[in-house]
C-alpha cells in the first residue's frame, strides 16, 4: 500500500479539487449537470477535441520535463517560463529570416531556440553552483528580463506593421512543423517530446550523469561524500533543463502558429511546476500529468463556450491541487499507520 501512497495522495488531491469545482458549478450554473458533463466529456467528444488536448499537452510536457529535472536535483528554479518564451522568439527569428529546405529549417530553428535556452539557463545555474546564490529569486528575475527582451525583439524587429494585431511577420512555410494526424493540429513536436521524455527517463535512471543528478538532489552532502562533483552536476542540470524548456518554446511556436504572437509570458513555465508536481518528479509520469492538465483545460474551454461557467474555473482547480499535493502533512496520519504496518511485517 505504502508504495502507492504518493499516487493515492495525488488522486485524492485531484478528486477534492474536482469536487470543489463541481460545487462551484452547481452554485452558479443554470444547468449544473449539463455543464459538468460538458466539462468532463467535452474533451473526448470529437476527434478535433481530442486533438486539442494532445496538442496542448505538448508544451506542458516540455516544461514539465524541464522542471522535473530541476526539482529532482534539489533546485527550486522557476525559470522555465522565461526560457520557453525567449526560445520561441529565437525560433521565430530563424523561421522568418532564414531560408532552408523544409527538413533542415525546423531542425535549425528548434536547435537555435533550445541552445539559447540552455545557455541562458546556465547563468543562474553557475551562480548557484559557484556562489550558492538563491536560484529561486534569480530565476524569477530572469523570467522578467527575458520577457522584456523578447517583447523588445517582437516589437522592434519582428513586428508586421501590416498585420492587424501585435504579431510578427509570417514564418516561412518551410519552418513550420508538419502535421501528424489529419483532422487535428497535432504536429511532429509530439514525437519529439515523447522521445525527450523517454530519453530523460533513460538518462535519469540508467546513466552516470542521471545517477549523479539524483544523488545530488536527494542529499548533496552524501553526493559530495561519495566523490560526486555536485557543482558540475548543478550546472549540467541547468543546461539540460534550459535546453528542454527552450525546445518546448520553439516547438510550440513552430507547431501551432504561423506568426509569433505572445506579447506576454504564456505561463507554461509555472504550469510545468504543476506538471512536475502531479508527475511526482518522474519523467515518464509527465505524459499523464500533462495530458490530465490539458484535458481539464480543454474541458473548461468547452464549458465556457457551451455553458454559462467561465473557463477560468480551471485556475481554482489547479490552485487547490497544488496546495494539497505538496502538503506534507496531508494524509500523513494514514501514511504513518501504513509505515508501522510495514515495519511490523519486516520485524
Amino acid at each position: 500500500m505504502l508504495k502507492y501512497f504518493d499516487a493515492i495522495r495525488t488522486l485524492i488531491s485531484v478528486a477534492i479539487a474536482l469536487v470543489i469545482a463541481f460545487l462551484i458549478i452547481a452554485m452558479i450554473s443554470e444547468q449544473p449537470l449539463e455543464t459538468i458533463s460538458i466539462f468532463l466529456l467535452g474533451p473526448i467528444s470529437t476527434t478535433a477535441q481530442i486533438g486539442n488536448v494532445v496538442e496542448m499537452s505538448i508544451p506542458l510536457m516540455f516544461t514539465g520535463l524541464s522542471v522535473v529535472l530541476l526539482f529532482r536535483s534539489g533546485l527550486f528554479n522557476l525559470g522555465a517560463e522565461g526560457l520557453f518564451y525567449i526560445s520561441g522568439v529565437i525560433a521565430a527569428i530563424i523561421a522568418i529570416y532564414a531560408s532552408m529546405n523544409s527538413f533542415i529549417h525546423p531542425v535549425v530553428a528548434i536547435l537555435g531556440g533550445s541552445t539559447v535556452g540552455a545557455l541562458l539557463s546556465a547563468i543562474p545555474g553557475i551562480m548557484k553552483a559557484k556562489w550558492n546564490a538563491e536560484v529561486l529569486v534569480t530565476s524569477l528575475m530572469f523570467n522578467s528580463i527575458l520577457s522584456g527582451i523578447g517583447l523588445y525583439i517582437l516589437n522592434y524587429h519582428l513586428r508586421d506593421a501590416a498585420a492587424f494585431a501585435n504579431v510578427s511577420y509570417k514564418f516561412q512555410e518551410t519552418a513550420r512543423l508538419a502535421n501528424l494526424i489529419p483532422g487535428t493540429r497535432i504536429h511532429t513536436g509530439l514525437i519529439l517530446v515523447l522521445c525527450c521524455i523517454v530519453a530523460t527517463h533513460y538518462f535519469m535512471y540508467h546513466t552516470r550523469w542521471g545517477y549523479e543528478l539524483r544523488m545530488t538532489g536527494s542529499n548533496r552532502a552524501f553526493a559530495e561524500f561519495s566523490g560526486i562533483k555536485t557543482a558540475r552536476v548543478i550546472i549540467t542540470v541547468h543546461l539540460i533543463a534550459g535546453f528542454l524548456a527552450g525546445m518546448g518554446g520553439a516547438v510550440e511556436v513552430l507547431g501551432m502558429y504561423s506568426r509569433f504572437q505572445w506579447s506576454s509570458l504564456p505561463g507554461y513555465g509555472l504550469d510545468g511546476a504543476l506538471v512536475a508536481l502531479l508527475a511526482k518528479n518522474n519523467p515518464l509520469s509527465v505524459v499523464g500529468a500533462a495530458l490530465f492538465l490539458a484535458y481539464i483545460r480543454i474541458g473548461a474551454d468547452q464549458m465556457s463556450i457551451m455553458s454559462d461557467v467561465p473557463a477560468e474555473l480551471i485556475s481554482i482547480i489547479q490552485a487547490i491541487i497544488i496546495l494539497l499535493i505538496s502538503a506534507e502533512q496531508f494524509l500523513k496520519m494514514w501514511k504513518n499507520r501504513q509505515l508501522l504496518k510495514e515495519a511490523e511485517k519486516l520485524g
Partner: protein, 308 residues
C-alpha cells in the same frame, strides 16, 4: 536630448515617480515583513490582484470607496491566511503555495469578474468608487515641492507612512523583534517561549495586508476600474525590490523608488529612442547583479569560516 532632460527634471515626472512607486512599495513592505520572519511569500502578485478586484466590487456594491478598501484588505488577509494555514499547518511547500495563490488569482479574478459584471476584460459596468486624492494645505503652495508632494492619492501617503511604520514596527516593537528573531534564529526564539508558527502566521497576514493595499491602489487610485492581470508583474517587482534592498526597510524603500523611477522614466526615455521594453528589465538586471555580489561576498565569508 534636451527634451529628455526637461521631462526628467519636471515636477510632473517627480510626481509620477511617487504615483508609480506606490503599489510596488506597499507590496515590497509586505514581502519584507514575511521575509524577515523567514518565509518567502511569492504570492504577492496574486494577492494584489485579488485585493484590486475585491476593492472594486465591494465599493461598487456599497457605494463607498472606504468600505471597498476595507473589503480589499480583508480579501488580502484571508488569502494570506489560507496560504499560512497550508504552509505552516499542513506543510505545503511555501513556494508552491505561493504559485498556487498566483494561479488562483490570475484566473479566479477573471472568473469572479465575469460572474459579477458579465465581462471578462474590465469592470467598466460596475460603478466602483475611487479613493480620494489629498491636497495638503500649505504644502501644496510651496513651489517645486508642493506640486510633487501634494495631490496624491491617499494610499500614496499611506505607503510613505507605512515605510516609517514598518521601520518602527520591525526595529522597536516586541512584534518586530520577535519576527526578526524567528527569521534569524528560530531555535533562539523558541527557547524563550516564542511560538515560531504563530509569529510567521502574523507576518504572512501582514504581507497579505500590504499587498492588498497595493492592489486596491491599482484599481481605486491608479485606475478607476479593474482589468484582468492589471497588476502586470508589480508583485514580482516588489519581491525584487525587497531583495535589492537587502532586507532593510530603508533599502526596500529606496529600491522601490528606483523601480518606480525606472518605470516612470520609460516614457521619458522613449524620446531618446530607447525602447521601454528594455528599460523595464533594468530593475531585474540590477537585482540579479545585487544578489550575485551578495552571494559572492557571503560565500567568501563562509569559506573563511569553514571547518569549525
Amino acid at each position: 536630448m534636451d527634451s529628455f532632460w526637461s521631462v526628467l527634471f519636471s515636477t510632473d515626472f517627480a510626481f509620477s515617480v511617487l504615483r508609480v512607486t506606490t503599489p510596488i512599495l506597499l507590496a515590497a513592505l509586505g514581502a519584507l515583513i514575511s521575509n524577515k520572519a523567514g518565509i518567502v511569500n511569492i504570492g504577492m502578485e496574486g494577492t494584489m490582484l485579488v485585493g484590486a478586484l475585491t476593492g472594486v466590487i465591494v465599493s461598487a456594491y456599497t457605494g463607498s470607496a472606504w468600505i471597498g478598501l476595507l473589503g480589499a484588505v480583508m480579501s488580502g488577509i484571508t488569502l494570506s491566511a489560507i496560504l499560512a494555514y497550508f504552509t505552516l499547518k499542513i506543510k505545503t511547500h511555501i513556494i508552491l503555495g505561493g504559485i498556487a495563490i498566483n494561479m488562483f488569482a490570475s484566473g479566479g479574478t477573471v472568473f469572479i469578474l465575469y460572474l459579477v459584471s458579465g465581462d471578462k476584460g474590465t469592470s467598466t459596468s460596475l460603478q466602483s468608487k475611487v479613493l480620494p486624492n489629498l491636497h495638503i494645505p500649505l504644502l501644496q503652495d510651496i513651489p517645486l515641492i508642493g506640486p510633487i508632494l501634494s495631490g496624491h492619492n491617499v494610499l500614496t501617503y499611506v505607503s510613505l507612512l507605512a515605510v516609517a511604520g514598518v521601520y518602527y514596527m520591525l526595529k522597536r516593537t516586541p512584534l518586530g523583534l520577535q519576527i526578526r528573531s524567528v527569521g534569524e534564529n528560530p531555535q533562539a526564539a523558541q527557547s524563550v517561549g516564542i511560538s515560531v508558527a504563530k509569529i510567521q502566521f502574523i507576518a504572512l497576514l501582514l504581507s497579505g495586508f500590504f499587498a492588498s493595499l497595493g492592489g486596491a491602489f491599482m484599481s481605486m487610485g491608479y485606475l478607476s476600474l479593474f482589468s484582468r492581470d492589471m497588476t502586470a508583474g508589480r508583485g514580482w517587482i516588489a519581491i525584487a525590490a525587497e531583495a535589492l534592498g537587502g532586507g532593510s526597510t530603508i533599502g526596500t524603500f529606496v529600491a522601490s523608488l528606483i523601480f518606480g523611477a525606472t518605470n516612470a522614466m520609460a516614457n521619458a526615455l522613449q524620446i531618446l529612442n530607447i525602447p521601454s521594453e528594455l528599460i523595464s528589465t533594468f530593475p531585474y538586471v540590477a537585482t540579479v547583479v545585487g544578489l550575485l555580489v551578495y552571494a559572492m561576498i557571503e560565500s567568501k565569508r563562509k569559506k573563511r569560516k569553514k571547518g569549525i
